[in-house]
């Protein structure tokens, strides 16, 4: 399964390899050479990369527009918080786990939820799937808001214990790399081809022997695992959790903005999108203040209509001689649709 990554890495050329290694080194140096404020911004960027890459696999490759990504992020965050500081949520201290184990378990629980609800949710197609996932996420959020003894209600609670910020940052960087590499390996190999086939034309893929549910489930469970992982990391790093903010639709919104700005259905898209988003997010609020979300909404609209390939598609079109035009990567604009 890792072959496509190895092949692409071998074919990347020296400049590509040096460039990728340099970016990772620079990211690793951030907490050592900058302020905690900037470090937290970059960490948020890494979390958004994980969310963007994972949602993109489900939506951009498999064509399943989910509006419930925040639920899996939030669930991973809450399970992590419960296991790291159980007493904060009124749970017995005996279930306490080291932060890394807790984050991993959080991601597993998020994946398990996807495994359980997936076969049900995928009875829905197109618009119905999108609205169904929004309803599911809302139900989960409402239940956790209501169960205030475990979630701190609308005020949330603080997570105590766990490694210091530098360690957590480096763990986040490592897990972001894992997320990107694994997702890349998946979309470039057989399951990825299955996902793209479903995206292009589900009934045609089905009649050619591709089992749509199998590949949709694959994308959904893996996507939810990485969303849960991102949630756990973020909760542990910021050491604070609340049902309103951690499970809020705002995480789904940010994920969509990242992927749409960067380029849906491409691997580099969410990486570029997260970088752009972090810049926007920090400059926008100082320029437009409370209207930042409006600008984000407007950007979604403008990109979908005028630049459906996102920033990555734009750059690729401008430098098209470097890549063969038929890259096999579906973009939002260049596909058939029959939903």
């Amino acid at each position: 399964m890792m072959d496509p990554v190895a092949d692409r890495w071998a074919a990347a050329g020296r400049r590509g390899k040096v460039g990728a290694a340099l970016v990772v080194l620079l990211l690793a140096a951030v907490p050592l050479v900058t302020t905690p404020y900037i470090t937290e911004i970059v960490l948020t960027g890494l979390v958004l990369v994980m969310l963007g890459v994972s949602w993109n696999m489900l939506a951009g490759y498999a064509g399943q527009i989910s509006l419930g990504h925040a639920a899996f992020f939030g669930l991973g965050a809450f399970v992590t918080a419960w296991l790291v500081s159980p007493s904060g949520a009124g749970l017995p201290e005996s279930i306490a786990q080291p932060a890394l184990v807790a984050i991993f378990v959080g991601a597993l629980v998020a994946a398990l939820l996807a495994l359980l609800v997936g076969p049900i949710m995928f009875r829905l197609r197109g618009h119905y799937f999108a609205i169904g996932t929004l309803a599911l996420a809302t139900i989960i959020q409402l239940i956790l808001v209501d169960q205030r003894q475990y979630t701190g209600g609308s005020t949330g609670y603080f997570i105590t214990g766990g490694p210091d910020d530098l360690v957590m940052y480096l763990v986040a960087l490592a897990l972001t790399l894992v997320t990107v590499v694994v997702t890349y390996a998946v979309v470039e190999s057989r399951p990825g081809l299955g996902m793209k086939a479903i995206h292009d034309d589900e009934s045609a893929a089905s009649s050619l022997g591709v089992n749509p549910l199998k590949y949709k489930m694959f994308a959904f469970v893996l996507s939810s695992f990485f969303a849960g992982l991102a949630g756990g990391l973020y909760a542990q790093y910021t050491a604070f959790i609340s049902p309103d903010s951690t499970l809020g639709v705002v995480w789904t919104i940010d994920t969509l903005v990242v992927v749409i700005l960067g380029g849906m259905g491409t691997m580099a898209g969410p990486l570029l999108g997260a970088a752009l988003f972090i810049v926007l997010d920090n400059f926008l609020s100082s320029i437009v203040g409370g209207l930042a979300t409006s600008v984000e909404g407007a950007l979604i609209i403008l990109f979908v209509i005028f630049l459906p390939g996102g920033l990555y598609g734009f750059v690729r079109d401008r430098t098209s001689d470097e890549r063969p035009p038929a890259s096999g990567e579906p973009s939002v604009d260049g596909r058939s649709s029959d939903d």
Binding site: R123, L124, H127, Y128, G290, G297, I305, V332, S337, D339
Partner: protein, 293 residues
């Protein structure tokens, strides 16, 4: 156990509320049935309608029953502008692009509400909240009864419009087969404009009516979207009568559920019923299909 008359009262309240839910859902259903687009910003348009009524009431003392007409005009214009400027460019591009554009539009509306009108909930109390009349042991409060009657009238007018006007017939023809309608000389672009305008005007009416019963805040959009979509699923896409039945069903089940399980479960019940119905009968309890799937 909960006393019988309390249950009766809850059912009556649910039925009266269900009328507004039906109006809220009808616009969503029309747009979905005819243009094959789920207006993700529909709930936020209800919110705008509510704010129009609230602002007219608090600034010039206009009753929401009159403010409703202003809200309908404002929302009709907003819907037409949305279709003309944005949706028209993506409406034939499949499902992804329109749904994402509308998602972005919903964000803009919510944020503008937050920014200009504050996050505090506001309502239109026209001073008749406590008054009403009693029939067979059940109390019919004036605000709920009046909004119910207005809702039913709006639904009836929409049905007559679709059934008997030339534009209404053209809308139904476009819903059945867009290509054929085009060959028959129907300007389907204009039909889309009118459909989105009428759909969002109904959202404006529902928002103004709801402001008489519940406070409006910038975050009600997603919840109202899910409720309206639940009614669409219950009633069947594009069915006017089904929408009315679906709205009443939702209003009653929501209120009765909240009576037994507690108010904080109101929305959990609603969305769970919605998901269940969606899974068991994606074409709606009373629908025969239409739309996608």
């Amino acid at each position: 156990m909960i006393a019988g008359d309390l249950l009766t009262q809850t059912v009556v309240n649910g039925l009266l509320l269900g009328g507004i839910y039906a109006v809220a859902a009808l616009g969503l259903s029309l747009v979905f049935g005819i243009m094959d687009i789920v207006n993700l910003a529909h709930g936020h348009m209800l919110m705008v309608g509510g704010y129009v009524a609230v602002i007219l009431f608090s600034s010039v003392g206009l009753t929401p029953l009159v403010g409703m007409f202003v809200a309908m005009v404002v929302l009709f214009a907003l819907g037409v502008a949305l279709q003309e400027v944005l949706l028209d460019r993506v409406v034939d591009e499949g499902m992804e692009q329109p749904i994402l554009v509308l998602f972005g539009f919903a964000l803009v509306l919510q944020n503008l509400g937050q920014f200009f009108l504050s996050s505090d909930a506001q309502s239109t109390d026209i001073g008749i909240a406590g008054s009403g009349f009693t029939v067979a042991g059940a109390f019919f409060s004036f605000p709920r009864t009046v909004t119910f009657v207005v809702s039913v009238v709006l639904i009836l007018l929409t049905w007559l419009f679709l059934r008997y006007t030339r534009t209404g017939q053209a809308i139904r023809a476009t819903a059945q087969n867009k290509t054929a309608a085009r060959y028959m000389g129907i300007d389907t672009d204009r039909i889309y404009l009118i459909t989105l305008g009428v759909g969002t005007a109904l959202a404006g009416a529902a928002g103004a009516l709801l402001s008489m019963l519940f406070p409006v805040d910038p975050y009600v959009g997603w919840s109202y979207l899910l409720k309206a979509f639940a009614v669409v699923v219950l009633g069947g896409v594009g069915s006017v009568i089904g929408t009315l039945v679906g709205g009443l069903f939702l209003g009653v089940s929501e209120n009765v559920g909240a009576l037994y399980l507690g108010g904080s479960y109101r929305d959990i019940i609603t969305f769970s019923i919605f998901l269940l119905v969606l899974l068991v009968r994606p074409q709606g309890l009373f629908g025969t299909g239409g739309g996608s799937e």
